[in-house]
Structure formats: C-alpha cells, structure tokens
Amino acid sequence: MAEEKDFTQPQPEGEEGQRPNEARRNFLKQSSILTAFALTPGVAVKAADLKFEEKVAAAFEKVNVTLEINGKKRKLSVEPRTTVLDLLREQLHLTGTKKGCDYGQCGACTVHVDGQRVLSCLSLAVMQDGKKITTIEGLADGDKLHPMQEAFIKHDGFQCGYCTPGQIMSAVACVREGHADSDDEIREFMSGNICRCGAYPNIVNAIKEVKNGGQKV
C-alpha cells in the first residue's frame, strides 16, 4: 500500500531507528497481540477489516540479522520465511545469484556461507545471522577476476550464462574441498549444478586448469 513503509528495503538496525532491545519489546508486544487474535478470531477479523492485520503482521514478520555479504557487514530486517536467495536478489539487488528451481535441484543459486558452498534457495536468511556470505559479485578481487572466472572465459564454460555464477561458486568450492583430482571426480562433485546449455566438458576443463595451475582459490 502506498502509505505503508516499504518493508522490502533493508532496514537499519532496529525498526524505525530503535535499539534492538526496544524492537524486541515491540516484537513481544505485537506477538502477544497476535496470540490474542488467535484466541479470539472475531477480533482478528475485525482488525483485518480495519486493516490492522496487515500492519501488525508486517511488524511481526521482521527479524533483525547481521550478515557479512561480500566482505561488507549488513544489518538487515527480514521476514523469517525469506530465503538467502530472495534476500540477495529481491532486496539487496545482488542478482548474480540465480534462481533456477527454488528446490535445491539445479545449483544456480550456489553461494559460499563461511567458505562452504550452500544452496541459497534452501537457506533461510534468519538462520545466517553473523555468517559470511560470498556471492559471485564478491569473487573477483576488484577488477581482477578470480582464476576460476578467467578459466571459465578461456574454456567457454557456459553459453547462456544463467547457471554460470552457481557453476563458478561450486567449482571454486570443489577445488578447495579437494574434489577436483580427476575428470570423473569433478563431474561427480559438480553434478549438483545443472547447465542446460550443456557446456559440461568445457566446465570440467576450466576446473582442471585452475586445479592444475596451483593458483590460490
């Protein structure tokens, strides 16, 4: 609604500039209102008619988290049901991380959380409080591409480019994990990342080159 505050935007610490404990008190207050609603549906319906429900729910829905994304600390207020993927794409405008299925089946949404490859579509943002997230946008060192990014370009490890960020994030982790010792091992440990264009052999070549090149990944 036009007169509403835009809750899709990242919020500063605490709602409306409140300190966290104040926000927490408000949260408790609001959640007890909701409990009351649950016990007295008539009131809830009336509140809904008066458009209270939306405002109350909106406040109730938000939780504060602090995430370090690509080296930058971000204090955010998110709904508990928001995935890391949707947080990145829809609220933080980091659209390099891709949505391909929302079920953890395609790998396009792969990011690193505390150095481990993780499917961001299956991870709730509120559960990452205090963690370090690296997305494809944070892989290069300024203008200098990460060796895996260079190798993907050199070996043409993509076509349409949509699965590519996920492939690269997985590929970096695959090498770091020590799972890139043979073509077959790479294929096995990269099989969670689907490339429908079918650039698989080129991706394997790119990973091999980085692995054998001995650069720091």
């Binding site: 609604m1 509403e4 835009d6 809750f7 899709t8 809904a48 429900e53 939306e54 709904e79 049901r81 928001t82 949707d86 794409r89 829809e90 659209t95 390099g96 891709k98 949505k99 391909g100 299925c101 929302d102 079920y103 089946q105 395609c106 396009a108 997305t135 494809i136 946008e137 892989l139 290069a140 591409l145 990014q149 993907f152 370009i153 050199k154 043409d156 993509f158 076509q159 349409c160 480019g161 949509y162 699965c163 590519t164 960020p165 690269i168 073509d183 294929r187 096995e188 099989s191 990342n193 689907i194 490339c195 429908r196 264009c197 079918g198 650039a199 698989y200 052999p201 080129n202 394997v204």
Partner: protein, 736 residues
C-alpha cells in the same frame, strides 16, 4: 576468440529479465487450475485479498479486458487455426495448471503466500491426456486440409508403402515422450505501463520484434509504443518463440495496479505454461536389396497438440531427402489432447523424426549384416531427391569419415554384445542429422564513432550460442578492424528489426545484415575520402580501396593511408552511421536445396545386470558451412550432444492420466543430464563455406547439434546389448 559478454556472465553482471529493478515494482504470482478440463464455477479470493501486502487478485471476472482477445482477425488475414491461450478470458479450463488468477503483492513472499489462499470451485469435464489411448483420433492438420500443396500433407514418391512387399525389410513403432526445454532461467517478465498506451516489458523471449508485435496487437496500441528488452536470455531452446499466458497476465496486472509487475514462473509452471517437445508416436518401414540399396521407406508420425491451438512441426523431412530410395511414403498427423500447446524444442520435429529414421537405418543395416556407416554411404545422395535439385553444399560423407576416425569406429563389432570392458558391454552407434539452412530478412545499424570504435545494433537475441561474439567477428572482418573496437548490442525492440533467434538462422540472417551495414559504412567512408579534393584518395573508387586496421588505403599504394577517425575529423562529423536490411534475394537460391548436416557417434557402456548406460565418448561432426567462431560453435555442438543424451537416456514427462497432471514437474523427477552424465565430447567441423545460402558462407548449427544424437546412442546400446529400444528415454528398466 573468447565471448564478448564472457566477463559479464562470469561476474554475475549480466542482467536477465527478472533482474530489472523498477521503482514501485510489485510481484505477481500465478494460481493454476487444479482440474484439467471444465469450467470455473467460482473463485474465492477473500483470504488472499486480506493477506498482508496484497494489492490485487485478478481473474477472468475482474481482470482488465485485453482488447486483442475479442478483436476479430483482419479480413485479409488468413483465418487462424486455433489460437494461443487467452489468459483470464473466460471460465473455461483447457489444461491442468492453466493460470486462472494472479495475485499481486508488494513482496515476492507475500504474493507467493497469498496465491495459496485462492480457492476455485470447478465444474469438471472428462479429459483426455493419454496419447496412446486416444491415438486413433489423430487428424491431418487444418493447414494441410486447406491446402493440398502444404508440406504436411501425405507424401508418396514411387509406390505407396512399397516396403511391405519386399523380402528384406524392417518395421517398428517408436515413441518419444513429452520433453521440456527447461532452461535454467525460469521464464520471467517485468511489465511496465509507462503511460496508458505505452508498454515496456523486460521479457524472456527469443524474438523481441515478434513479442513487440504480439503485445501491440493484443493491447491494440501502435507497435512503436511497445518496447521489448531481452538483453540476456538464460537459455530457451525454443520456448521463447511464443508469447505465453504468464506474459499477458503480468501485463494485465501491471495495467490494473498501475505499477510495474514482475512475474517469474516456478519450475513446476515451466512444465505447464511455456510449451514442450510434443509426445510423438512414429512408425517406420524400410526395405533394401541384399547389397544394401534402400528400396522403400514409409515413415508415419503423430504429434501431440492442445485442444485450442494446432501445433505442427516438420518431423518427416529428413526421411524425404536424406537417402536415395525409389519409393518413399510419409504421413503426418496431430492429436489434440487436454494439455497446453507444445512449442518447437531444439531440433524441432526433425530430432523426433531422426530418432525413428536413424534407428531404422541401423536396424536395416543389421538385417543386411552390413556396417551402418557403409550402409549410409551406399545410400548417400548427391541431389535432393525430394525437390530434385543439387545441394548448395553437402559434405556429409567427409563429416562421417572424420567422426568414424575420432570415435574409433573400427573397434565396433558387427555382432552385438561381443565387445566388453570388464563386466560392461561396449557398443558404438551413429546417427545423422539435418536441418534446412535458413536465412531471413534482418537489419543492422553500424555507427563509427569519433574514438574509432564501431557500435552495431540489431534487434536479435542471444539465448546462448554467442550471437554477440559472432557478430563482432563478422563486423571486425568486414570493417578491417580489431574486434576489441567493436561493440554489438542486441535484445531491444528499439534496434533495427531482426527475426527471432530460431531455426538455426541467426548468423545467416543477422550476420549478413551486420556485414551489409559495415560494407555500407565503408562505402560512405570511401566516398568521403575520395571526394576530398586535397586528399591523395581523390577520385579513388571503392573497389580500389583496402580497409585494414581502422584505416583506408589504396590497394595500389598501401602506404597511402587515412584512418577512419581522420575521415570523420575532415568531415567534421561526430559519427557516421549506416543501417542496412539484408534479405535472401539471391536468385541462385532457387536452383539449390540448402541444408546443414551432422553426424554423431557414440560409444556406450551398458552394465548387463543393472541396465545402467554410460555414454563414455561422443564425437559430433558437422557440415555447417563456414564456422565464424570455433570456440562458441564447438560449444553449441557439445550442448546439442548433451541435450541428445538427455533425450536418449533420461528425459521424459510422466502424466497421471487420472488427473491429467504431470508427475514429473521438477528436476528431481524430470532428469536433465548433469555433469556426471556428460562424457568428453569431441567436435569436428568440415568448415567449408556455402555462399549460395548467404554472403558469409555459413549454415546453421543449433538444431543439427542435437538431431541424430538420440538414435546414435540408441544404436550404440543395441550394438552393446542386442536390445533394440524404440521408446525413449532408454532407462535401465528397459535393458534388464
């Protein structure tokens, strides 16, 4: 040369359609029907409307009317055969998960939640989704019924069904299940009414101009008031060649809420709302002489379509033109079912047809105790037997020899099941593919700028083959400039018109236009240089000039040079522009038959106890004319082979006919090939130009990369096991 957009793609900076952020944007989530056929009795939207953040819930009763839905076709236009599904038009349900409502909310989470609260009551009719059960209801497509000369009519050369009376023959039925394109990018659109009659869409499409025209017609607004942006397309494989209900739903919603609306389909919706390769039944009959000359082929095919739109594709072309045979019969039918409309999927029609034809070739060769490679070469034809014309170019035999060498065809045993690697049975197979070498009208704009760079624009798209890269190379060659000085922009309806990216025709069509625009720019530069009274180029003709390294020089005196930028300076011009349209108007074209050709070789291992199939090696060779960029073209061939592995071994929709609903609706159930399914794939090109087709000498690659792959694998499995599987995908249960 590396891809020009490689850096954008590996850094996450490439922007796909769902990634445009517009101020005040809202999110739309579609609600699908839970029945397959019938009508909506009522829709209860109250709970959804009350849910937090919901702005609107739209359905057929309250959605703004789409003027194009009711507008009668112009009397001069041919009467359409069926029509695309009109979203929110009325209460009718034609297929399961048909969009019946859209929920618009201020965040994605809220829209998604509220969409689950919409409940509809239906009056259900009996549906038909079981292809094989309803097969007898197949019909000749209306186009063919209306026009006896239409290519979809029955075709008889020589004697009809002549194989039946022959002593040496094979006969078999083949089934291909419904297959889904499943690009990794989900279909998405951001629809934005910039004014009452001015629409901008950021849309996943293979055709920006086609989409622009479709929406202009739908909303009854001038074409120039519709802007379509598709700068990056995350794969499509054909499903961006049609406008789909979700696109119009987003536009309707944006109109109603007066805000930009983004709709991104879910993976499940990718199985019901954006087309598929249709289920097909085929029957092949073939006969040959003892020494291996084909005497007759009969090829019948029935493809699935929807109840509201007739979808047809060319399944039988390869059978009509690939091999010499005095008798050829083909029959094509379609079967309308209560499903959504199919759409061309990579190697449309021909990939289906080639599975039957190239399997039958293998079966026939086996009956004759002949090497299938030798059998194909024996029936090679130097003219198109269907049209009785010479080929513009055909180097298929060369491609076969290259491939046979690389796969190690000499290791193949004639007798199946006789080659082993440990406990695994080993087999080799091959399959041939072909697709028309097409070219369409296209245009491009070239601008030479004061800094010596050239910008080229055309309203084509790049769904992955590397169109931008090829165009930069074509322009660099034409201009005599380093590719780093050239930028190619695509994917906007503001650019000069170009056809859809489909039918393997982009380089031939758009590439020719880019070359023409560059040539036009050079002519302008030549005129300026030679028109300057003080210049040493005075009076020089265009033909006397050479263009190299961003400079014009006299062919007779290469040291007499003038840079492009100096010409602009002399003329006091900030830039110089040339726009050209290029079309296939070379009369020579009518004297030839033009096709691309491919041949695929597969080495497989089959585990006799578990039925597991491993494709251990593939070699794909193509006669695709001149290759502009071996790296991207090679990658496209690899991708086609991987797609063919999916078609052969893993991909197939399963529909629960009791409900008319797909059981396979995500990647856990519908198996596209993953890294572990994909072996080393070697690619070889004949790389000989075909200048009949276009001035660049190219032929298409995208389709032939996958046509013929599935039969190559099926034939290799036969060679390994002696089991002939005529129903795809060849899953382990069929081999044990």
């Amino acid at each position: 040369m590396d891809r020009v957009d490689g850096r954008l793609k590996v850094t996450g900076a490439a922007k796909y359609s769902a990634e445009y952020e517009l101020p005040n944007m809202a999110y739309g989530v579609l609600v699908g029907s839970t029945i397959t056929k019938g009508r909506i009795k009522s829709i209860d939207t109250k709970a959804a409307e009350r849910a937090p953040g919901v702005i609107a819930v739209l359905h057929y009763q309250n959605a703004p009317k789409v003027p194009g839905y009711i507008q009668a076709a112009h009397p001069t236009e041919p009467k359409p055969v069926g029509q695309p599904h009109r979203v929110f038009y009325d209460d009718k349900v034609y297929f399961n998960d048909q969009p019946i409502a859209i929920v618009v909310a201020d965040t994605l989470e809220r829209a998604r939640y509220a969409a689950r609260l919409v409940k509809a009551q239906y009056e259900e009719d009996k549906h038909a989704t079981d292809f094989l059960k309803h097969q007898s209801k197949a019909i000749l497509p209306t186009h063919a019924q209306r026009n006896p000369k239409h290519y979809l009519n029955d075709y008889v050369k020589g004697k009809e069904d002549a194989y039946k009376g022959e002593p040496l023959k094979v006969e078999g039925e083949y089934v291909i299940p419904t297959e889904f394109h499943n690009p990794i990018e989900l279909q998405a659109i951001v629809a934005h009414w910039e004014a009452d009659n001015r629409l901008t869409v950021y849309d996943k499409t293979q055709a920006v101009i086609g989409t622009q025209n479709a929406f202009a017609k739908e909303w009854n607004i001038p074409v120039e008031n519709v802007k379509v942006i598709a700068t990056f397309v995350g794969g499509a494989f054909g499903n961006g060649l049609h406008t789909w209900p979700h696109e119009t739903a987003a536009i309707i919603a944006a109109k109603k809420v007066n805000r930009p609306v983004k709709v991104m389909l879910t993976r499940e919706q990718m199985f019901t709302m954006v087309g598929y390769r249709p289920f097909a039944w085929q029957k092949m009959g073939m006969s040959a002489t003892k020494d291996g000359k084909i005497t007759a082929i009969t090829h019948e095919a029935i493809g699935q379509t929807s109840s509201y739109e007739e979808f047809t594709e060319s399944v039988l072309q390869q059978t009509r033109m690939m091999y010499t045979s005095p008798n050829i019969t083909t029959r094509y039918r379609i079967l309308p079912l209560d499903v959504s409309t199919p759409i061309w999927m990579r190697g449309p029609g021909e990939a289906t047809g080639a599975f039957a034809l190239e399997s039958a070739m293998d079966e026939m060769a086996y009956v004759l105790k002949m090497d299938p490679l030798e059998f194909r070469i024996k029936n090679h034809t130097d003219r198109d037997p269907e049209r009785n014309l010479p080929w513009s170019t055909k180097f298929l035999t060369e491609a076969m020899q290259m491939g046979a060498e690389k796969i190690g065809w000499k290791n193949r045993k004639l007798e199946p099941g006789t080659l082993r690697n440990g406990e695994w049975l080993v087999g080799y197979g091959m399959g041939v593919g072909t697709f028309g070498s097409h070219r369409n009208r296209a245009s491009a704009r070239a601008v030479l700028r004061a800094d010596g760079t050239v910008l080229i624009q055309s309203a084509t798209t790049d769904i992955g083959p590397g169109t931008g890269t090829a165009m930069v190379q074509i322009a660099a060659d034409a201009m005599g400039m380093d590719p780093s000085k050239i930028t190619f922009e695509l994917g906007s309806s503001l650019f000069p018109p170009a056809p859809s990216q489909g039918g393997s025709a982009t380089v031939a069509s758009v590439g020719s236009a880019v070359q023409a625009a560059c040539n036009s720019l050079k002519k302008k530069l030549a005129t300026m240089a030679s028109g300057n009274a003080e210049s040493s180029f005075k009076g020089a003709k265009y033909e006397d000039l050479a263009f190299k390294d961003g400079q014009v020089s006299l062919s007779s005196a290469p040291n007499t040079k003038l840079s492009f930028t100096d010409i602009l300076k002399q003329q006091r011009l900030p830039e110089l522009e040339a726009t050209e349209e290029s079309k296939p108007d070379n009369p020579e074209r009518n004297k030839y038959s033009m096709y691309s050709f491919s041949v695929h070789f597969a080495e497989v291992q089959v585990h006799p106890l578990t039925g597991q199939v491993r494709v251990t090696k593939m070699v794909s060779c193509a006669d695709a004319g001149k290759i502009v960029n071996k790296k991207t073209a090679g990658n496209q061939m690899i991708g086609g082979a991987v797609g063919g592995i999916g078609m052969a071994l893993t991909e197939g929709a399963v529909i629960d006919d009791r409900f008319g609903r797909y059981v396979t609706k995500d990647f856990a159930d519908y198996h596209v090939p993953v890294h572990a399914d994909s072996p080393n794939i070697e690619v070889a090109f004949v790389d000989k130009p075909d200048f009949i087709g276009n001035p660049l000498g190219t032929k298409g690659i995208g389709e032939i990369a996958t046509i013929g792959v599935a039969p190559a694998i099926a034939n290799a499995i036969f060679n390994a096991t002696g089991k002939r599987i005529r129903e795809l995908p060849i899953t382990p249960d069929k081999l044990i």
